[in-house]
């Protein structure tokens, strides 16, 4: 089995290196095919591992020792257990689909080969992240996916906005990673190991305060990766990257790494329910908050991105309330239908020549049948209609909230479910129904390549049937995660809740259809609704990006400018001069002493020496005074 583990892990790396070899040469189809083939191999190995794990085994290998000196010992190990195998399946399925899809999507792009190098490198990092058996390896993968995501968001580096978005994502993530690093250090410091099994076995012996801090710092890392409030702005901007990237990284895999971290560290979070409540509340807030921003947005990809954000909120609610397996289940189901949604959006974008505003589309169902069906079904799944995947996973989270008596969270999530249904179908209705507004812009849409649709079909199937795996999945992961079944005990309440939710959601869908299915004009910002306060508030994303700009970015730039101009040039230099002059120049005015002047430099040195000597004397005097 170890062999399969290594194949699953390293096949993407081989694919990446192979593509990188060709990164300088012009586009060649075989690069994409080879990379996809290698990923498929990785998927097959993961599937074999899955059957193996389902028979009750786990695979644990220690490839080599990273660091071993004195009391520091970090091995380079991998583990395939019930949790990581689920993640591996999700990652390999989605990435294989995305790879095949990208062969078509990136067909006309000059950076075709480079794209596959980055994409496969990303998959490799992600596999390292999920398969590592310790926090150090997780962190490596964590940074790796961040790096690849940076490269892929900024893939079209000639676009100013793409560059900016890439840097924003990278920097925000680095800030959060710092928190995570501190958490990992705290773990190492207090437990003396980074191995999951050791850490989780011993974490209970620590003081509650320390556990709380560990939990908080790790969660800060998770907040960055999973774009939770207030570090969420990068995700929407990350949509500047190619659409397959959005599907793979910013919907299905990387952004869920934060959820994975919390699920993986369930032993830690079980001990600190207060932090758990906080996580759940934040998750609920983000779910509603992101959904509200999706309501009015006029950028197809951003709408889907906000919906991702909102669904991540759901996952955190589940994880925060201790229903780790539910969180992981929703993560899996969400990966399938959200990736499908993104890839469908990619098709639409191609057809519309990169137009993103759904108000400029309409009536596309006639020309893009396949895409229309897929996106509608994916939206149905997202909305959580029985018997699609979303129903099983999302309603479960609602039930968790209800059963755990967090009625506020429950209500928020219920409301969000309605909003989700509304904005999803607003999008579908605007794109595929109504008048053919694109004709105004002289666009001639066409359906995507056949093989792209075929490539998407596995996702479609999974989006429909993933819910039926629920019990198998539960049997599998309960070996590792707390096996709490969440049932509303009163049958009547259960049925009322379920049917009520379904009706509510369906009502929202119908409302969206009614309002947008016959849309005829392109809004220009003059209608009464568009001028209302709430619309503006939502449209401007609650003014949060603006606030960041005002509060952090500008003062930071200002600060470094001041540090240079004022502190370095004026204060520091002036101080040196003042000291030197104070000692050696009595009447004469200073000559203009400029930076880069040798004399100033020598004075720096002498002043340094004088200060040190004065400190030495002062210390001695103080020391003798105390001694005497």
């Amino acid at each position: 089995m170890e062999l399969y583990l290594y194949i699953a892990l390293f096949a993407p790396l081989v694919g990446s290196l192979y593509s990188a070899l060709f990164s300088g040469s012009p586009k060649s189809q075989q690069v994409g095919i080879v990379a996809s083939g290698l990923l498929f191999t990785s998927f097959l190995s993961s599937a074999i591992l899955l059957t193996y794990v389902m028979s009750g085994h786990t695979v644990h290998v220690e490839m080599m020792t990273w660091m071993a000196t004195g009391d520091l010992y970090i091995p380079f190990g991998f583990v395939v257990d019930q949790v990581s195998v689920v993640m591996m399946m999700v990652v390999t399925i989605v990435s294989t689909v995305v790879h095949v899809y990208s062969i078509g999507y990136m067909d006309h792009d000059k950076g075709f080969n480079r794209f596959f190098a980055w994409l496969s490198a990303f998959v490799f990092s992600m596999m390292v992240l999920v398969m590592s058996d310790n926090f150090a390896g997780l962190f490596i993968g964590w940074e790796g996916v961040g790096l690849c995501s940076w490269g892929l968001i900024g893939f079209w580096y000639h676009k100013e906005s793409a560059t900016w978005a890439a840097n924003e994502a990278f920097i925000m993530n680095r800030i959060a990673d710092l928190g995570m690093l501190i958490g990992i250090f705290l773990i190492y410091w207090n437990v003396g190991s980074l191995q999951y099994d050791v850490v989780f076995a011993e974490i209970g012996n620590l003081q509650p305060v320390i556990i709380t801090w560990i939990g908080i710092f790790l969660f800060i890392g998770a907040m960055g990766k999973s774009a939770q409030f207030p570090l969420h702005t990068w995700l929407a901007d990350a949509m500047e990257g190619p659409t397959p990237v959005s599907a793979l990284i910013h919907a299905a895999t990387m952004v869920t790494a934060g959820v994975y971290l919390v699920v993986r560290s369930n032993a830690i979070y079980d001990l600190i329910p207060n932090v758990g409540i906080f996580i759940a509340s934040l998750g609920a807030f983000v779910a509603l908050f992101a959904a509200s921003m999706a309501l009015v947005n006029r950028d197809m990809k951003r709408i889907i991105a906000y919906s991702t954000l909102s669904q991540l909120g759901y996952m955190f609610v589940a994880a925060g309330l201790g229903a780790y397996w539910v969180a992981l289940f929703h993560l899996m189901a969400h990966a399938f239908f959200k990736a499908l949604l993104f890839l469908g959006a990619g098709n639409v974008m191609h057809a519309m020549h990169d137009e993103l505003d759904p108000f400029k589309m309409g009536g596309l169902r006639k020309v893009m049948k396949g895409t229309f069906v897929m996106m509608t079904l994916a939206s149905v799944a997202l909305a959580g209609i029985y018997p699609f995947a979303g129903f099983f996973s999302k309603d479960l989270i609602l039930e968790v909230g209800f059963v755990e008596h967090h009625y506020v969270i429950y209500t928020v999530l219920l409301l969000t479910a309605g909003l989700t249904a509304f904005y999803s179908f607003r999008l579908v209705a605007l794109i595929f129904h109504g008048e053919e507004r694109y004709k105004l812009f002289g666009i001639h849409p066409h359906e995507a390549y056949k093989f792209m649709l075929v490539a998407m079909s596995p996702l479609l199937v999974l989006a429909i049937i993933a819910g039926s795996f629920k019990m198998t999945y539960f049997q599998l992961v309960m070996n590792l995660l707390p096996a709490t079944q969440y049932h509303v005990h009163d049958q009547t309440t259960y049925w009322i809740m379920t049917i009520g939710t379904q009706l509510f959601v369906i009502a929202a869908i119908l409302f969206a259809y009614k309002k947008y299915a016959n849309w005829s004009n392109v809004p220009d910002g003059s209608s009464a609704m568009e001028r209302s306060f709430f619309y503006k508030l939502l449209w401007n994303q609650y003014y949060i990006p603006k606030m960041y700009e005002e509060i952090f970015a500008k003062p930071y730039a200002e600060l470094s400018r001041i540090a240079w101009k004022q502190i370095d040039l004026k204060i520091v230099d002036a101080t040196v001069d003042a000291i030197a002059n104070g000692i050696y120049k009595t009447g004469e005015n200073t000559r203009d002493i400029q930076n880069g002047n040798l004399s100033t430099m020598l004075r720096w040195m002498v002043v340094g020496l004088v200060v040190l000597s004065i400190l030495a004397v002062a210390f001695t005097v103080g020391y003798n005074a105390v001694g005497a």
């Binding site: 990164s23 300088g24 080599m64 020792t65 990273w66 660091m67 071993a68 000196t69 004195g70 009391d71 520091l72 480079r114 962190f139 490596i140 940074e143 790796g144 790096l147 900024g154 580096y157 000639h158 793409a162 560059t163 890439a166 840097n167 990278f170 920097i171 680095r174 800030i175 710092l178 690093l181 501190i182 250090f185 190492y188 410091w189 470094s560 400018r561 540090a563 240079w564 370095d568 040196v576 880069g596 040798l598 100033t600 430099m601 020598l602 720096w604 040195m605 002498v606 002043v607 340094g608 020496l609 040190l612 000597s613 400190l615 030495a616 004397v617 210390f619 001695t620 020391y623 003798n624």
Partner: protein
């Protein structure tokens, strides 16, 4: 009448001189070859230098074996001291030099490489550094330091541009002042202990229970000023950016690595016994020095417009980071120092070589310095491989896993945490986060901007096969550091631990 002294040759242990003598003989033979037949091509001298350095390395490895078997080797009236850190640092010095000497084989002609003296001086300089680390005698340290520094000043000036002379004069003048500080500091130590050997001074002071603490501290003030200059700690750092800008990129890269490791070793010998004796003053001063050096240089690096100056400030910051190891003073941290520097050597070798291959002979209109950021704009389009390489080195410098320097940073921060310096560890981590920003700036220029016409013709202008090989070596060292870290750590720990540091 005094009896003549009979010195048994065996007791001298002349072998301890072998590594330095090899370098000196190499230098002399280069001079003699030049005298016998002038006008030979520079590649011959490069080969001779490499050959002798290889011999030198062989001798050092041999010493390493002897050290692990028998412990510290003393020689030459106990002036020479071959302990673990001496051998380790000499290996870093020699390997670093071997990697930098081939940078002379550029495709463009440069003034300095036409002189065989360049290579002779280079070898003298290496011998100087080797003397400096392989002794704990203050006189010997001084001689080694000055031999190396004087050679280095000349090497900088040989680059034959106005800025090079300016840099050499600045470096020289400040170096002379630092030499004065060093001499005065040693004088105070000699006055209070009557010895010029560091271990004896330490013993005498300990027996004395630091009765002369005031004078000890005063001498340490002078020593910190002297080595602060060599290690470019704030406020003794002012020469660094100017000298780096003035000298050729190859030499600047060399200066960021080899002289500093030598200075680190001496600083370890000089300061650590005091740190261990709990002299609070020194701890406080080093603490402040480390923090200020790291932070201030990072801030200054942010506002640079020239890549070489940025790298200069960044290497000040790295030196400050590593200086923390001396403050912490545990075996783990000292091991971290050597590990960090070994990894840093490869990464910085790569970064400076990338500057060197892009060196242009004349500045184009409107260009204020040799390597402005704009020069690297859109490099990914014209030279994708080169841009990827440079990006790789920047990422490593920023400490992003799994590239080389990440491991060094992690190990050092880890050692700070495990010795209870939590706040320091936090500051170190924060600083590496800030540093990421200006390294990223270069990557942004390379990958995200359009090439600027005029600059693009200079990409790889100076490249030759040997320079590309060096870049390749640096890249391999940076990427595959993951696999080298563990064996390296084992060896380094063995050496450091057995030398009592």
């Amino acid at each position: 009448m005094l009896e003549p002294i009979h010195v048994a040759l065996g007791s001298l242990n002349i072998a301890t001189l072998a590594p330095m003598l090899i370098a000196i003989v190499g230098a002399l033979s280069i001079l003699i070859i030049d005298l016998a037949k002038g006008g030979l091509h520079k590649s011959l001298y490069v080969m001779i230098a490499l050959l002798f350095l290889l011999l030198d390395l062989g001798a050092l490895v041999d010493f390493g074996g002897v050290f692990l078997k028998n412990g510290t080797i003393l020689g030459f009236f106990d002036v020479m001291l071959m302990d673990g850190i001496a051998i380790l640092s000499q290996i870093i010095i020699v390997v670093g030099s071997m990697l930098f000497i081939p940078l002379a084989l550029t495709s463009k002609r440069f003034h300095e490489y036409d002189y065989p003296e360049y290579f002779a001086l280079f070898m003298f300089m290496i011998a100087g550094f080797q003397f400096m680390v392989a002794t704990d005698n203050l006189i010997m340290i001084f001689i080694g330091l000055e031999t190396a520094s004087l050679a280095l000043y000349t090497l900088i000036a040989l680059h034959n541009r106005s800025k090079s002379f300016e840099a050499a004069v600045k470096y020289f003048t400040m170096g002379a002042l630092a030499a004065g500080f060093y001499a005065f500091g040693s004088m105070i130590l000699y006055a209070i202990s009557g010895s010029v050997e560091i271990n004896q001074i330490a013993t005498i002071m300990a027996e004395d229970h630091y009765r002369n603490i005031g004078y000890v501290l005063l001498s340490m003030a002078f020593m910190i000023a002297a080595f602060g200059f060599k290690l470019s700690m704030v406020p003794f750092h002012t020469w660094t950016p100017d000298v780096y800008e003035g000298s050729s990129a190859a030499l600047a890269g060399y200066m960021s690595i080899v002289p500093k490791i030598a200075a680190f070793v001496v600083a370890m010998r000089l300061f650590e016994f005091l740190v261990h004796s709990g002299v609070a003053w020194l701890q406080v001063i080093l603490y402040i020095g480390v923090v200020v050096t790291m932070t201030a240089s990072n801030i200054w690096a942010l506002v640079q417009s020239d890549v070489k100056r940025m790298l200069a400030y960044s290497s000040i910051s790295h030196a400050g980071f590593v200086m923390a190891a001396i403050l912490i003073g545990t075996t783990q941290s000292n091991t971290g120092l050597f590990l960090y520097w070994a990894l840093f050597s490869f990464t910085n070798l790569g970064a400076f070589t990338m500057l060197w291959v892009n060196r242009q002979k004349n500045l184009i209109a409107g260009q204020s310095s040799d390597h402005p950021y704009e020069k690297f704009s859109g490099m990914v389009k014209t030279m994708p491989m080169a841009a990827v390489m440079m990006g790789l080195f920047m990422l490593s410098l920023a400490g992003i896993p799994p590239f080389g320097l990440f491991w060094g940073k992690m190990y050092l921060i880890g050692s700070a945490v495990s010795s209870g310096y939590t706040v320091l560890a936090l500051i170190m981590a924060l600083n590496s986060a800030i540093a990421g920003y200006y390294y990223l700036k270069l990557i942004v220029f390379m990958f995200m901007k359009e090439p600027i016409v005029g600059y693009d013709q200079y990409y790889f202008m100076n490249a030759s096969l040997s320079l590309k090989t060096i870049i390749g070596i640096a890249a391999v060292g940076t990427i595959f550091a993951v696999f080298a870290v563990n064996p390296l750590l084992k060896v380094i720990t063995l050496f450091v631990y057995n030398s009592g540091y």
